[in-house]
């Protein structure tokens, strides 16, 4: 199914592209602004087959895209493929740091509420979940900035402090992965590592509150579901200590639901940071797409969309495979 979906997605993006006229579209094809300078626009349209019938245009576009040539991004002043290479690691880094507290906190709280079903803890947690779920990310993000930056001065927005960005930009500093914290450790710069961490905290706090709500809910219902099963009663009847029943018997099956959601969560964290990155001024992929859209940088948004769709499709595939590995009852079709 994956190739069909991939083909479909490219077709969908291509169809949307046809809303633009050839002059606007040209930016999604040329490889640098130098190519536009002094050139005859009509000649360029001919060169990239923009006046040809749709199937020809489609294959020309796909051929370029597969080779990694997604055009020149006006808003980032670099080729789109290069922008993706430098910006996606920042989005990954944020996802990585947000993922840990969301999973640990969400699963733990979810389990506790399930074990204390219908208690005060359970009910207050339910309120926490619904309220968290009702906060738009830009509202909560702005509140975090208001409290933790304007009020307390703890977590500044951005990527790094001025002194740290200067150190990172110096030629002596090596960029191994593009992930700021990892690069700082590899360079042996603990001060930069902690500075980057401090800047990460704002978006991480925001994403943790908004997304752990989701995870709490899934863990709780998964756990409740399992706790009513016969084999749990059997385990208790055998006289197993309650701790064993919960940790060995119930958790493992309840985790199947959590695992699927955790996989989806990673995909959400990688593809859903448009607004968070914009608010906290982190130049990752999300902000790239938002900025490209604001600047009407067509090459940027089309390339970004194609990339995000790819992340989503590949991510879903990985989740399905992991799911089947963890739960042998499920067969991959």
């Amino acid at each position: 199914m994956i190739p069909v979906t991939l083909f479909g997605v490219t077709l969908l993006v291509f169809t949307m592209m046809q809303l633009l006229d050839p002059y606007q579209l040209l930016s999604a094809y040329v490889s640098s602004p130098a190519e536009l300078k002094g050139e005859n626009i009509e000649r360029l349209i001919e060169k990239y087959n923009l006046d040809e019938p749709l199937p020809v245009k489609y294959f020309q576009w796909i051929y370029q895209a597969v080779r990694g040539d997604l055009g020149w991004s006006e808003s980032a002043s670099m080729p789109v493929s290069h922008a993706i290479r430098t910006k996606f690691p920042l989005t990954m880094e944020l996802a990585l740091y947000a993922f840990i507290p969301i999973i640990i906190g969400g699963v733990w709280i979810g389990k506790q509420t399930a074990l204390r079903h219908n208690s005060f803890v359970d009910h207050s947690c339910r309120i926490f979940v619904i309220v968290g779920w009702s906060f738009p990310d830009f509202v909560f993000g702005l509140l975090v900035i208001l409290i933790f930056y304007s009020g307390l001065g703890w977590f500044p927005p951005g990527l790094l402090s001025n002194w740290a960005s200067q150190a990172v930009a110096s030629p002596a500093y090596d960029h191994y992965t593009g992930l700021i914290t990892v690069d700082a450790l590899l360079n042996g710069r603990l001060d930069i590592f902690f500075d980057a961490l401090r800047h990460l905290m704002g978006p991480v706090v925001t994403m943790t509150y908004l997304w752990s709500a989701f995870l709490i809910r899934i863990t709780r219902s998964g756990m409740l579901d399992v706790l009513h099963k016969d084999y749990i009663r059997t385990a208790r009847a055998k006289g197993l200590p309650e701790r064993m029943v919960i940790n060995k018997h119930a958790s493992k099956n309840a985790m199947i639901a959590v695992l699927t959601v955790a996989g989806r969560l990673v995909i959400y964290l990688l593809t859903g940071t448009v607004i968070i990155e914009t608010i906290f001024n982190r130049p990752g992929m999300g902000k790239f797409v938002a900025f490209a859209a604001q600047q009407l940088d067509y090459a940027g948004i089309l390339g970004g969309t194609l990339f995000f769709a790819l992340v989503l499709i590949v991510g879903n595939l990985i989740v399905d495979v992991l799911y089947a590995v963890y739960d042998p009852r499920i067969e991959l079709s």
Partner: protein
């Protein structure tokens, strides 16, 4: 005889449960409040001048710095002196309009696709479901941003983009229900009577399968309003000075000091409560209608 009962006994019992549940009641109360605000907007925040589009937020002057709440502007003003109270009141209308219009059209599209796929099965089903998969393979927010930008920005473009990428859940849900329902005896009877496919779908199958779809659709309104406001916040949706919650919140971005709390507090409060009201109702609905979620 064709069976045209919209609500059976079980469903009626569930609806009764919905209207006696305290969580849902709080949601309904909030929703009622917002509906009142939207309906009475012209009285709550009278437009300053006749003849001007009432959705244009009036300005209290041209100072750059936001001004705290005062008798003139009870919620204060944003940068450029846009009246926050006016924007919040009329923004309620914008929110309802966006939510209802999008849900109305996505339900129609989703039901058409789902009913065709479920009723005709085979190749039609396969094709329609693949198309649905493709639309679901685009990250929602990104897809909406791209289509809005390609269409040329503006609130109407946001609505079109939301419709284009939000019909899939409805289609899938209805397809499943129709697949089940078409095997029922009354459908076979209708077929034996020689009724046309269209008549069987519209008069016989849909009345018996629509209810869950409507519930699911109403639960999406909150999310849709958040996304639409998000786009306005990014500057892709509502035009400058148009009454929209996301728009008015974006005006507070340059003023993040605690002394400017009112620029973010009032519009955010309206937004969160609005979304909360839909979620409270949706949450209860899920409890009642989806036995797997306890």
């Amino acid at each position: 005889m064709a069976r045209i009962t919209v609500l059976d006994k079980d469903t009626r019992r569930k609806i009764k449960k919905l209207f006696t549940n305290p969580t849902a009641l709080l949601g309904f109360f909030l929703l009622f409040f917002f509906s009142l605000v939207a309906l009475l907007a012209p009285f709550l925040a009278p437009q300053p001048m006749e003849g001007i589009d009432p959705y244009i937020i009036p300005r209290q002057g041209f100072l750059t710095e936001p001004q705290p709440p005062s008798g003139n502007a009870i919620f204060g003003t944003t940068e450029g002196q846009y009246d926050i109270y006016y924007a919040v009141v009329w923004g309620t209308r914008t929110a309802f309009k966006v939510g209802f219009v999008v849900v109305f059209f996505t339900t129609i599209i989703g039901m058409t696709v789902g009913a065709c796929a479920g009723y005709y099965r085979g190749k039609v089903d396969e094709l329609l479901m693949r198309i649905t998969d493709v639309f679901m393979s685009m990250p929602f927010l990104i897809a909406v941003i791209v289509l809005t930008t390609l269409l040329g920005k503006g609130l109407d473009k946001v609505v079109i983009a939301l419709i284009a990428f939000d019909w899939m859940d409805t289609a899938r849900l209805l397809r499943g229900n129709v697949l089940q329902e078409r095997e029922e005896e009354y459908v076979q009877a209708a077929k034996a009577l020689g009724y046309s496919d269209l008549r069987i779908i519209l008069r016989h199958i849909l009345p018996n399968t629509t209810f869950p779809v409507v519930i699911q659709a109403s639960m999406r309104i909150g999310t849709l309003v958040v996304v639409a406001s998000g786009l306005s916040f990014l500057g892709l949706g509502a035009p400058q000075d148009y009454a929209d919650w996301g728009q008015i919140i974006s005006y507070s971005r340059n003023w993040q000091g605690l002394e400017y709390w009112y620029t973010i507090f009032f519009p955010s409060l309206a937004m969160v409560l609005f979304v909360l009201s839909w979620n409270l109702i949706g949450d209860t609905l899920r409890d009642i209608f989806d036995p797997r979620m306890k």
